[in-house]
Every structure is written in structure tokens, then in C-alpha cells.
């Protein structure tokens, strides 16, 4: 066991002062040290995308980074999507379109979609399919997830918080 390091993670605009071993992944630190358990951990080797978070505005796999590497970065997790008890447009659209069943993949899909629509608000259908192929869902068959994200894109609400 190597020495723990004192680091600060900026998550959803709040600083979290934590002590972690360098080998601790960002997703484990978010859950165990920051207490933010909305980010799920699936495969732990970058295949499933359940742990997707935003780092400086772009979606990344939080299991493929060590927490110490995320110092000084602006992190956003699913806990940061809703504001004042009001769901983010994507969360509402996932609900309305039955884009989740068991929900394990949902926080990853929401952050993937949120980051993508913020970067590319006018993304075309083919590119959106390519982006959403990044994450695995074993319940929905993907069509309802696509429908939900397209609905938000079409409504131009990606920036609405």
C-alpha cells in the first residue's frame, strides 16, 4: 500500500477534500470519498460506460482515470443535473420515453448525453447513434434512449438546467 495523497476534487461546483491512494479510480473516489453514489461502477475496465462523468465539459470514463489525475478539473456527475428539485430536460425525457428500466446505466447515459448535447447541440442522428453506442444498456434496447436524447436535442433544451 502506498501513501495516501491529500487532493481536492471539484464536483458539481463543490470542493471535496479527500485522501486517496494513487491507485483509487475517479469513480471509486466519487462514490466512497465524496459520497456521490449516483455514478455507478460497472465493468471497471472502460467497456460499459456506467461510470461516465463530465470532466471540463466532456464525457469520460471515470473508471479509466485515477482520482489524483482529476485535481484542478471541473467534474460533473448526475447529482449536478437537476436544480432546485426540478429534473434536467434529459432526466425528464428519459422518464417520459421509458428510456430506463433497471436504471443502472442511466447516470452514465445521462452524462454522456448531457456532455454531447452541450458540445454539439445540433448533432445529427447518425452521429448521435455513434455517440450513444459508447455505453451499454441491457434493458431498453437503446431505441427509447435515442428517442429521449433526440427529443431534448430537438427542443433545444440541452442547456436548460
Amino acid at each position: 500500500m502506498t501513501q495516501k495523497m491529500a487532493i481536492t476534487l471539484d464536483v458539481n461546483g463543490t470542493g471535496h477534500e479527500i485522501r486517496v491512494e494513487p491507485r483509487k479510480t475517479l469513480c471509486d473516489a466519487l462514490r466512497a470519498d465524496c459520497g456521490l453514489t449516483g455514478t455507478n461502477v460497472g465493468c471497471e475496465h472502460g467497456v460499459c460506460g456506467a461510470c461516465t462523468v463530465l470532466m471540463d465539459g466532456v464525457p469520460v470514463r471515470s473508471c479509466l482515470m485515477f482520482a489524483v489525475q482529476a485535481q484542478g478539473k471541473a467534474l460533473r456527475t448526475v447529482e449536478g443535473l437537476s436544480t432546485g428539485g426540478k429534473l434536467h430536460a434529459l432526466q425528464q425525457a428519459f422518464t417520459d420515453n421509458h428510456a430506463l428500466q433497471c436504471g443502472f446505466c442511466t447516470s452514465g447515459f445521462l452524462m454522456l448525453a448531457a456532455g454531447t448535447l452541450e458540445q454539439q447541440p445540433d448533432i445529427d442522428d447518425e452521429s448521435l447513434r455513434e455517440v450513444l453506442s459508447s455505453n451499454l444498456c441491457r434493458c431498453t434496447g437503446y431505441q427509447n434512449i435515442l428517442r429521449a436524447v433526440r427529443q431534448v436535442r430537438d427542443a433545444g433544451k440541452a442547456g436548460a438546467r
Partner: protein, 285 residues
């Protein structure tokens, strides 16, 4: 699974990075850039370095630029940088075409071009680009800098000419002359999976004849390479469907394909011909 213990050494400059590497490479130290192959290898305990020299904070490694007829790609330039054209010529357009087949969107935000070259997976798209276009790899260490041509770089599956105390500081790709046409095609069973075969082709149309024909295959043998037998059938000849068909068949016959539980050598050999044909069909001007 979780990665084993290691000490983390963030570097702020290239000089600091090579100094740290000189110190820690003999103690099982490794460089981490995007980490999109290294971190899963560590999680699966296929890799367990004692020290990681982290070069993500080295600003000089984050740049891509054109210099002396070459596209110079720094050690920390992410795959996602190539979602848009990084230079206005045929090379910039080819790289946009290729990048979409690399893993998935979030992986491309973090993984790096040079990391793919250093990892040298047989199914790496950037390794095929480097092999076919004749990239030069610039290796830095505390001992100095040396340039390694693509022909000497690849030394088998996930093995390169890089010494343990060297880091791949940049890759230099020759710009493609105006009028060059280039195409890429890869086949995988699911979006984002490792390719089972891929092909990259480029040529110039000189009146009725194809010139500077390059045909390469990746994800087929231990390392990507050009296929001289196929190129020779097209060099100096007009672009016709029959000629492309003959070149695809020659490429298919020339390779010595890897086998795995999902893919027989025979199937992979057949895919090479298909990939070459489709790469020509996809070629933009």
C-alpha cells in the same frame, strides 16, 4: 478489479518527464498519458507498474502543428482532436475519417494518438496510418532524442523499438500532396470493438494512371504493414473496378493472418480483400 499500488509522479515539463523516467524505469516505472489501454490493463492486473510518470500536465505535449511538410502530433494530443480537420489537406481529411472507428466517443476524449503508437496493438487504427504513410516516431530520454521510422518501430504484437527509459514525445506524419486520394475501412462485429481487419489506401491520379499507390492492412498480422504485391498491381495503371478487384485479391493472398477464438485465419484473409475494396470505394479526393 482494482489496480495494484503504485507511486504517482506528475511531470510538468518534457525534461522533468524524461528525468523521472530515467529514475523510475529501472524500478518498473511507466509513462501514463490517456491511460485508456494502460488503466484497464492495470485493473485486470495484466500490468502492475510500481511507478507512473504522468505526462498529462506537460503543455508542450498537448500540441499538434504543421512543420516542414509534416503534421507533428505531441504525446498528449487526444484522439478527439481529430474529430475536426487539424490541417486543410488530404491528410487532415483522412484522419477525420479514421478517428470515428477508434473505440468510443468518451474514450477518444482521453486516449492519445501517440499512446496508440506506443501501445502498438495490432488492431490500432493510428498504427496502420503510421505504417502506411511512413510516420517518424520521435523518442526522448534523458540521454537525448532519436527519430525512429515506422519500418523500424513495430516489432511484433504490442512491441516497439522504444527503450524502457524513452517516451514517445511526438509522431511526425508526412502531409499528403494536394490531389491525393485516401480511404479507410474497418470491420468489427459491434460498434467500437477492436477491428477484425482494416485497410488504408492512398494514391494520386496522374492523367490515366495511379501513382504513389499505398495499400496497407491492420488488425490482421502482428503489426500493420503495406502490401507491396497489391500496390504493384495498381502503380502506373488506370483506376478500374477490375484493377481494384485484382489488388484486393492480391492483398488477401499476401497476408499471414492471426487467428483467435472468434476469427479463423481464412475468415480474416477474406476480410482483407473486402476491406481493401471498401477502402478504395470510400476514398475521398
Amino acid at each position: 478489479m482494482k489496480a495494484g499500488s503504485f507511486e504517482w509522479h506528475p511531470a510538468r515539463s518534457a525534461d522533468e518527464a524524461v528525468a523521472l523516467l530515467a529514475q523510475y524505469a529501472p524500478q518498473d516505472g511507466r509513462v501514463i498519458a490517456g491511460g485508456q489501454s494502460l488503466v484497464p490493463s492495470m485493473a485486470l492486473r495484466l500490468a502492475f507498474p510500481s511507478h507512473l510518470i504522468d505526462i498529462n500536465g506537460v503543455d508542450e505535449f498537448a500540441k499538434v502543428r504543421v512543420e516542414g511538410g509534416e503534421l507533428v502530433i505531441g504525446a498528449c494530443v487526444r484522439h478527439a482532436a481529430f474529430h475536426v480537420t487539424v490541417e486543410p489537406g488530404p491528410l487532415g481529411r483522412l484522419l477525420v475519417q479514421v478517428v470515428h472507428d477508434i473505440a468510443h466517443y468518451p474514450i477518444r476524449q482521453r486516449g492519445t494518438f501517440c499512446g496508440s503508437l506506443a501501445n502498438a496493438d495490432p488492431a490500432s487504427e493510428w498504427c496502420l496510418v503510421a505504417a502506411v504513410l511512413g510516420a517518424k516516431m520521435v523518442a526522448r530520454s534523458a540521454r537525448g532524442t532519436r527519430v525512429i521510422p515506422a519500418a523500424d518501430w513495430f516489432q511484433g504484437i504490442m512491441t516497439t523499438a522504444l527503450a524502457e527509459d524513452e517516451l514517445l514525445a511526438e509522431v511526425r506524419l508526412p502531409l499528403l500532396p494536394a490531389g491525393t486520394r485516401a480511404g479507410f475501412y474497418e470491420f468489427s462485429r459491434r460498434a467500437g470493438d477492436y477491428a477484425l481487419a482494416m485497410a488504408l489506401v492512398s494514391w494520386r491520379d496522374d492523367g490515366d494512371a495511379m501513382r504513389d499507390v499505398r495499400i496497407g492492412a491492420g488488425a490482421v498480422e502482428a503489426q500493420p504493414r503495406r502490401i507491396a504485391e497489391a500496390e504493384a498491381l495498381l502503380e502506373g495503371h488506370p483506376f478500374t473496378p477490375a484493377a481494384i478487384e485484382a489488388a484486393a485479391a492480391a492483398a488477401s493472398a499476401a497476408v499471414d493472418p492471426l487467428e483467435d477464438v472468434h476469427t479463423s485465419a481464412e475468415y480474416r484473409r477474406d476480410l482483407v480483400g473486402t476491406a481493401v475494396r471498401r477502402a478504395f470505394a470510400q476514398a475521398g479526393s
